[in-house]
Symmetry: C2
Subunit: 585 residues, 2 copies
């Protein structure tokens, strides 16, 4: 059996780690307030049992398995049920609901773990020759439905796990460029870089269980992207295995060599081949890395400050502000209020606000985190520039190291909370988007109204909160978290809420996703996002690049019906079934 | 006749403006030294006569012209020879040699000037219905061969001139986003923005005669791109007319909606449709904009400093350094050495260098320009950070405003010099590239060796010089200028030199172009740049998006032979002639 480690088959993270609220006294009352769930009386579901799961039989022929075994060795090929279930879904709330609900319509037929690019090439060539389907698999953290096989797929499905390609191959220290194998997970690659004094500066929420190949495949952003750029900025060179050979894009700082093939691979979610290596921009670890917290009297003031910071000479590494509801949530999920935290939230803050803003009403305040990195003098100057703007918008600085620690403490915790809520009968999920600054408040309000409308439609009490997580010169990312106690049909109820929020994005000039990709989850809105002509161009790209739909078919765009487009050769041996978008089920 | 103004049919700029050297006493001796041309004895060719030119007859049918006239009105359609010649070529040295040499193999058959996007749509639909060819035309400044019709083209060729779409439609002042029509030329759009307190911050060498649509179509960079970004960063939203409808990409700060269609249009050179509108990032005009000059003892020291600046906390708006040869050229082409300039170059500089570097030898020194923009305190701090690094690498600061003025004075002059040299029997041209920092010196030396090898092969005296024009975290752009006195066959001799330099780029891990696009000029090396699989993906994009090759066929990639790719429907009514790359003629 392979040594590649995976997350729990039924949830986030590894066995033995989970969310608990014993040390968060404000959490239970908050949940009661937000979604009407009484944690003290609710029954927590036990861990699901794998033996209860109905898993379809692998259709991989012995000959095909033998071919794969010939490439990677017997240890690194499996048709084992557990491996196939682990590789069936990512970790979206829909995925968790389905795996807990024994809803596995189609699993990969075989999981293979190549050791290097040469083996990936042989697997791809063998799979294409056999007209099999190839679904690349990194850390399995995807929440867009990019990993699951299409239920109607009759061909053999290969989950190509990149877990053994986990090395930082080398660092060009003159250029700040590191060659990193696609299957390297966040903590592992960052440790390899740190050991030589470098950092990639890319820290998505999924960092602990996602890979650099997955970041590229889904156009990931990280917490410090304001400084280091999104993965589209970071990934300068790429190697992508395709039938018969590898696409090789050498690391270039910039190029005008026609339409950007690099930017076609970015976000391609396996549809254009298997990413095996990324040459990434890396940076020397900065001398100073501070995260400071601020309070704003309300959301509009905070967003106005963030916009002004983005337009200013300042260049902070993080700009983040939670709206009033998320601020309430953050305070409620803080660990036991001792010392500074308690003093801040319980005593000092109300007093400051009554002086600064002439009111004691806390329900509009918004918590913001701003990061500063670089030399000590640079970090200090950035902070000075930023805080001048913050003061102009009536923001208050919270002194001390507590808030930054709070930020670091919580940053990778959220996914565990989702599993806990599911145990208790509640669904918690996220939708994120980006829009120009002039549209942000409108997008924010529309998403709130859409969620509330959906809750009303279902007849349940629901919750939504939001923060602005990344800023750019012309706009920002808004990240929404929503939760509700489900009733009879968790997935159907989730669909109503998720669809309403996504629709509100495209209706208000925001995008379907800022950094979670498209997959199946956001695909129904792609045409409204990039216009029908944009979909045509993209469909042509996929069809011309992968005529027989061997590479992760159905993701980003539905499989075209065999009659269209006219210029496309019908795929061989393919069932003439158009994909039903998952979110419409 | 339309009111749209064009450059001279035979050269750069408008009538009455040209290069002269009466006020540049060092110029003639420099030319003698560099390429062996004695300006005092050489005969200057007279202005070419249009009546000498052989222009093929337009094949546009009366019915088709009538259709176009019905769309835009008689004033805005022409089959006039002068208009057709103006729209035949861009302004590359090859273009100028051909138009001066009466080598016009194929011209557009009709030139049409739509007033707005609706008219562009009608023209495109009519042209596609008639299976005509559409070549979008902006300012006509292209130097990659992106504008010329393919000689073998039998269909009617429409030059679609965007000159009447020249307005800044509106500015979203909250977001720093301006909607700008694609045909707006640099000075015009910048004036419209400036009038409202904004700047686009994009100043390519071609600025005075190029359009924002052309910048997008060729992936342009400007002189202040270190601060404002390349056009790929600036162009957030796009409207592109395609058969039957417009592609509409709304302005988004960032998005993860699959492979980037925006980044497919960028650099597409008309092959995916007609760009009609760009929503561009714009910035408030900074309070301070300074350009300072520095001298480095040699190229390696200067490049090391530029690299360290790019890695530092500093964020200058311009980082530029000329190598020793280009520094010599810059000093030689300076206006009459009065006051500070004369003192600097003739007295102070040698003295400083003898003290600072212990030698009086000027032939290794390199002139650098660094720009600082923002608030006065920000510009000052950036300068302080940069100059600390410059001192570390033994660079010297030149005090005073003279150098910045020199930079501004010369920045848009270069193209005029090229016409002057042609008049005198010499060819001057440019090749530019980008590579990681670790490869820059190697790329620089290889291009020098390649050019010298080419000159030796032809048996002529030639010249090459270079500057680094843009820097990024992981690398920089190198910009080479080369010149020689041609002998019997100017184009064939030019090809030998140009090909040698381009080959040296791809052989040394540099790209075929940093910001001049591909066109026909760089197309032969595309496969070596983005690998054969990259070419396959791009070819599939073009073929699937434009099945009958109506949009600027043959550019970026040669027209595929009708037998390949297998999945592609053969184009209707197309001559089965594969393009011969222009540079191989």
């Amino acid at each position: 059996m392979t040594d590649v480690k995976h997350m729990k088959w039924w949830g986030w993270g590894v066995d033995g780690v989970g969310f608990h609220y014993e040390d968060k006294p404000g959490f239970a009352p908050f949940v009661k307030y937000a979604v009407g769930l009484d944690l003290l009386t609710a029954t927590r579901a036990g861990e699901p049992s794998f033996s209860d799961l109905k898993v379809g039989k692998s259709n991989a022929t012995a000959a095909f398995v033998k071919t794969l075994t010939g490439v990677v060795g017997a240890k690194h090929v499996t048709t084992d049920d557990m491996a196939r279930v682990v590789h069936t879904y990512g970790k979206s709330i829909r995925d968790l609901m389905r795996v807990r609900g024994n809803l596995i319509l189609r699993s990969p037929d075989v999981v293979v773990y190549p050791a290097d690019e040469a083996e990936v090439q042989k697997i791809v060539d063998a799979a294409v020759a056999a007209n099999a389907v190839i679904i690349p698999f990194g850390g399995g953290s995807n929440i867009g439905g990019s990993l699951e096989p299409m239920p109607e797929e009759k061909r053999t499905i290969v989950s190509l796990d990149l877990g053994r390609l986990s090395k930082v191959i080398d660092i060009d220290t003159d250029s700040g460029l590191a060659r990193i194998q696609a299957g390297a997970q966040g903590p592992d690659l960052e440790a390899q870089l740190n050991a030589q004094g470098w950092t990639i500066g890319h820290f998505p929420d999924s960092f602990t269980h996602s890979t650099i190949g997955g970041w590229v495949a889904t156009r990931s952003s990280g917490m410090q992207s304001d400084k280091y750029g999104d993965i589209a900025d970071i990934a300068r060179g790429l190697r992508v295995v395709r039938p018969g050979g590898a696409l090789v894009l050498r690391p270039l700082p910039s190029t005008s060599s026609g339409p950007s093939v690099r930017e076609m691979i970015l976000g391609s979610e396996g549809r254009l081949g298997v990413i095996t290596e990324v040459t990434a921009q890396v940076h020397r670890i900065p001398a100073k890395r501070d995260v400071y917290a601020y309070f704003f009297p309300n959301w509009e003031a905070g967003i106005a400050a963030m916009q002004e910071i983005s337009e200013s000479d300042a260049a902070p590494s993080i700009t983040r502000i939670s709206d009033a509801r998320e601020t309430g949530f953050s305070l409620a999920t803080s660990k036991d209020r001792k010392g500074l935290d308690k003093f801040m939230a319980g005593t000092l803050l109300p007093w400051i606000m009554s002086v600064a803003w002439g009111k004691k009403n806390l329900d509009q305040i918004c918590l913001s985190f701003i990061g500063y990195e670089g030399s000590p003098s640079h970090a200090k100057r950035q902070r000075k520039l930023v805080e001048k703007i913050i003061r102009k918008h009536k923001g208050l600085t919270i002194i001390g190291t507590g808030p930054g620690v709070l930020y670091d403490q919580k940053k990778f915790d959220t996914p565990y909370l989702r599993d806990f809520l599911l145990d208790m009968g509640a669904a918690g999920d996220v939708s994120e988007t980006a829009a120009p600054w002039s549209k942000l408040n409108q997008v924010h309000d529309a998403a709130y109204a859409a969620a509330q409308g959906a809750y009303d439609q279902i007849g349940i009490q629901g919750w939504i909160m939001s923060h602005m997580s990344h800023s750019y010169h012309s706009g920002a990312c808004l990240y929404f978290t929503f939760a509700f106690v489900f009733d009879k049909d968790p997935i159907a109820e989730y669909d109503v809420v998720k669809k309403a929020i996504q629709q509100s994005f495209v209706d208000n000039d925001a995008t379907i996703s800022h950094h979670h990709g498209v997959g199946l989850e956001h695909s129904p809105w792609l045409s409204e996002d990039i216009s029908p002509e944009g979909v045509k161009i993209m469909a042509g790209l996929f069809a011309s690049s992968d005529a027989n739909d061997n590479f992760n078919p159905g993701k980003i765009l539905p499989r075209p019906k065999v009659t269209t487009p006219a210029t496309r050769k019908p795929a061989a041996k393919k069932a003439p079934v158009a994909r039903k978008p998952a979110s419409k089920k």
